[in-house]
Amino acid sequence: MSMIKLTVNGVARSASAEPRMSLLDFLRENLGLNATHMGCEHGVCGACSVILDGAPVRSCLLFAVQADGHAITTAEGLRKDDGTPGVIMDSFMEAHGLQCGYCTPGMMIAAHALLEQTTSPSDDEIHEAIGGNLCRCTGYAQIVEAIRLAGRRMKDAS
């Protein structure tokens, strides 16, 4: 077992894990952060996306030990401090940018990474940002609209 210390959603956390444990399992099982979802466990579907040091990564393809000393943002980190939905979450609700909700945390993480770069993304930029995240419910249209809406709201608020 290895002791892993990292920052998750701005909070210092530590827990021990087997060297073979994925970051995904570590977040869910050892830290109790359930918003990140397991989809394919081979890096294709993007349901397990988290932000590591500012960039989106697949938590299923990383070992927990590789995240030692790094800063992680999970979908829980997209809530406001009081636990209410942040602007990306609220925009997904407004645009109905989801159905079953399973790929949604990964989509919102991808959206977050994009909107950190620009709040006025083009459709091509949105497609690029979520191009590695599969959704089987929506056909993507309302997800793209949700991200556009979130960008507009962020821009208006800034």
Binding site: R79, F92, H96, C100, C135, R136, G139, Y140, A141
Partner: protein, 803 residues
């Protein structure tokens, strides 16, 4: 964006209005309650051992090393499990086709589960799996469904003495006469290869045997009718010993989340281990190869009889479907399409030979539309072929054969009455939205530059509501005519409303549906209504969210329950205001004396009377405000007549799809340049939900048309076990889909609603195929096999026979 409702739309407060989806409040906040999120103290984790052989005798299994590994609680083999349980439910009269969760003596497909381990962690369980030693004797297998029919084919289920699970020919109407009178005929083969819905969440189940109560508790990502019944039957326990928790969020299903074998494994282990909770979460390999989650795998041989004016008289259809090793409900996917076997057309007669064969592939489960999408692809291919043969416009031939708007209810040759529709109007709206002329100009401009381009058009009917009388047609022992859905309502003493449904939800927004309809009926704010998913022991009868039925059936049950509450409130108000029930007006929860509106009773006052003031209740009225309503599917309830004519499904939605595609002549790659559709599902309950389901269905249909296939090598090995091999559309493959709504209300439902969960998937494969063939027609080529992989198209363009 969706266009506004047309003038047919009902005058409503909440129904058909843009409103946020109730479920999104938790799901978009990362607060779902998926089966993987449910952790019970002491829970054990299951890993599975899969057979590497497509067909093999199991000579021996040595589990001793696995059992000796610290942390391993149990190892279970097929021999042990089959001794303690009954076979899983089939549905056809094929007693020698036995299905157990783990292989017994013989493995029947590569990936079939042979043994499982329960251990303190999934990792440890996987370690133990590697310590199980199985001795196999590999046997010849059968993969090709046509070869499976040959007399010398290896038998998948030797006791059944044949690979044919089901074979029947129906003749509805004067087929021979119509063929004799027809001026021309045309025969073709259409192939729908094996694909599925492949939700991003795999299947998972968690079970705990509550010894004190003698109840097996189940939490599972399930979407399935009669799940509790099948668990009880297999485990040999009473039905009231099975409690299925329905408040588990399901991460997508679209039909396939039928993990009955997984459930029996964990339930049996929990009982075996004295009540320790046991869970099995499929990993993606388990899911793709051995999860029994594949869809239809079908060959159509069709002859169409028509006149020179394009009028289609009759169809002869032979549908051969490969159900895989364990049929489950797979073969019945040949039955559902009977509900709309002639599409939206005035085809006078139809012959239908349906054949289900078993092969050494993983078992087939229900997929979105329950077999209707392959059949619609075949019907629309037939129409396009007749048009091309006669040199007729593809829109014109559809118009000439459409059922007229004034002909409803319209009975098709199979005995089913379509409830309502206006197909020409929907087609016209679609043509206008797609801008057919402009599409044609764009296509021709691309062609002028020497490239391949095509326009696709397809229509589809979406039967909704789920009266499954095809089961009786296929197996008369299944004398079932009841297809019901229940809903409960409680209004508390503070006036707040709780709706109680009795099944899971997997993205369709059922809580929104119930809240919207109860709010509409009672004129109360839907956002204030809570909707619970009662477990299978506490809830009312349900057939689960299959068959595009919930807007119709759960919506109808919610309306019925709410109307009972309103009836009771009227009685209380009339009694306390001292007027007759017909002398009251109702607005937003308050009853007024029509003659003197100053005299009134508010919602809050009425709820207090109902709950607290028995002395103010009319004599004999039950105290409190609670009601249940169980609704039988409308328009059915009868067995087929002597000619096998029967009402299948009550409501029929309609869509018209249009696409412009380009094919790269070098690679065969298809790019969708434009996509538009018009849809009519009667009254829309929530526009965002309907739009999402339709566009999501199109995306799914694009996958089935161009990319997705579960491929088996000729030696029976499974070749598509990862997302790198089984290709699903990303945002780059799904174009922006423009949609326009039309509303022909159903006369059979509470608010005129029909189903909408399947239509996108029913129309898109046919539409893409139509577009690809329009493009290929410029080279006198044709492709009637889905998916139209770029390799297939490239081979066709470059004269390679390997198609």
């Amino acid at each position: 964006m969706t266009a506004p409702l047309d003038s047919h739309a009902p005058n409503t407060r909440y129904v058909a209005r843009k409103r946020r989806v109730t479920e999104d409040k938790r799901l978009a906040a990362g607060r779902g309650n998926f089966v993987q999120d449910i952790v019970l103290p002491g829970m054990l984790h299951v890993a599975v051992l899969a057979s590497p052989h497509p067909r093999a005798k199991i000579l021996s299994i040595d589990t001793s090393a696995a059992l000796a590994l610290p942390g391993v609680a149990a190892v279970l083999t097929g021999a042990q499990l089959s001794a303690a349980t009954n076979p899983l439910y089939g549905g056809l009269p094929t007693p020698e086709v036995k299905w157990y969760p783990l292989a017994v003596d013989l493995t029947r497909y590569a990936g079939e589960w042979v043994a499982v381990v329960a251990a303190t962690s999934r990792g440890l369980a996987e370690d133990a799996i590697e310590l199980i030693a199985v001795e196999y004797e590999s046997l010849p297998c059968i993969i090709d469904p046509e070869a499976a029919l040959l007399p010398d084919a290896p038998l998948v289920h030797p006791g059944h003495k044949s690979n044919v699970l089901y074979r029947q020919t129906f003749t509805w109407g004067p087929v021979a006469d119509d063929f004799a009178k027809a001026e021309d005929t045309l025969t073709f083969r259409a192939r729908w290869n094996r694909s599925s819905t492949v939700p991003i969440e795999t299947f998972g189940a968690l079970a705990r045997w509550d010894i004190g109560r003698e109840i097996i508790e189940i939490w599972a990502s399930i979407q399935m009718p009669n799940y509790a019944e099948q668990i009880a039957a297999s485990l040999r326990i009473p039905l009231n010993s099975v409690k299925v928790h329905h408040d588990v969020d399901v991460g997508g299903s679209y039909g396939v989340k039928r993990g009955i074998k997984h459930t029996i494994i964990v339930a049996h282990l929990s009982r075996m281990l004295g009540g320790v909770p046991v869970r099995l979460i499929e990993d993606r390999l388990d899911n793709m190869s051995g999860g029994d989650a594949h869809g239809p795998d079908r060959i159509f041989d069709t002859t169409v009889a028509f006149d020179k004016n394009g009028s289609i008289r009759s169809l002869k259809i032979r549908a051969l479907d490969d159900a895989g090793a364990y049929p489950g409900r797979g073969p019945f996917q040949l039955g559902k399409p009977i509900a709309a076997l002639v599409g939206p057309y005035t085809i006078n007669s139809v012959e239908y030979e349906a054949i289900s064969v078993t092969t050494n592939k993983t078992g087939q489960v229900p997929v979105r539309g329950f077999g209707q999408s392959p059949t619609n692809f075949m019907i629309e291919t037939a129409v396009d072929k007749v048009a091309r043969h006669l040199g007729l416009d593809r829109l014109e031939i559809r118009r000439r054969n459409f059922i007229a708007p004034n002909a409803f209810p319209y009975e098709i040759p199979t005995g089913t009455k379509y409830d309502s529709g206006n197909y020409p109007a929907v087609l016209d709206k679609g043509i206008a939205l797609a801008d057919w002329q402009h599409l044609t100009l764009r296509r021709d401009a691309i062609r002028k530059e020497g490239r391949l381009a095509g326009i696709g058009v397809a229509t589809c009917l979406e039967p909704g509501g789920g009266n499954n009388m095809f089961e009786y047609l296929m197996n008369p022992a299944a004398e079932i005519t009841t297809f019901m859905e229940g809903c409960g309502i409680r209004v508390d003493s503070s006036g707040r409303i709780t709706g109680i449904m009795g099944t899971t939800t997997s993205g369709q927004g059922h809580e929104t549906l119930v809240a919207t309809i109860m709010g509409e009926e009672l004129e109360r704010e839907p956002d204030d209504i809570r909707v619970l998913h009662a477990d299978s022991l506490a809830g009312l009868p349900t057939r689960s969210p299959v068959a595009s039925r919930m807007a119709i059936m759960l919506g109808g049950a919610a309306a019925g329950a709410a109307r009972k509450i309103k009836d009771k409130l009227i009685k209380i108000a009339a009694h306390n205001l001292g007027v007759g029930e017909s002398e009251l007006d109702y607005d937003g929860g308050t009853f007024f004396d029509r003659a003197n509106p100053a005299r009134k009773l508010t919602w809050e006052q009425l709820c207090i009377i109902a709950h607290r003031q028995y002395h103010k209740l009319p004599a004999g009225l039950e105290p409190g405000l609670q009601a249940e309503y169980v609704w039988q599917v409308p328009g059915g309830g009868q067995l087929p007549d002597a000619q096998d004519k029967v009402q299948l499904y009550p409501c029929f939605s309609f869509q018209a799809h249009f696409a412009l595609i380009e094919i790269d002549p070098g690679t065969g790659k298809v790019s969708i340049l434009d996509y538009a559709l018009a849809h009519d599902c009667g009254t829309v309950i929530n526009p965002d939900i309907v739009r999402g389901m339709i566009i999501g269905g199109v995306a799914h249909g694009i996958g089935a048309a161009l990319y997705e296939q579960f491929t088996y090598a000729p030696d029976g090995q499974f070749m598509s076990a990862t997302f790198a091999d089984y290709l699903m559309p990303s945002v780059f493959e799904v174009p922006f889909v423009r949609d326009v709504e039309h509303c022909t209300p159903s006369p059979l439902t509470s608010h005129g609603q029909k189903g909408s969960g399947e239509g996108g998937y029913l129309g898109a494969p046919a539409c893409i195929a139509s577009a690809v063939n329009d493009a290929l027609s410029t080279r006198n080529l044709c492709l009637d096999s889905l998916p139209m992989h770029m390799m297939k198209i490239e081979a066709l363009l470059n004269g390679d026979s390997q198609t």
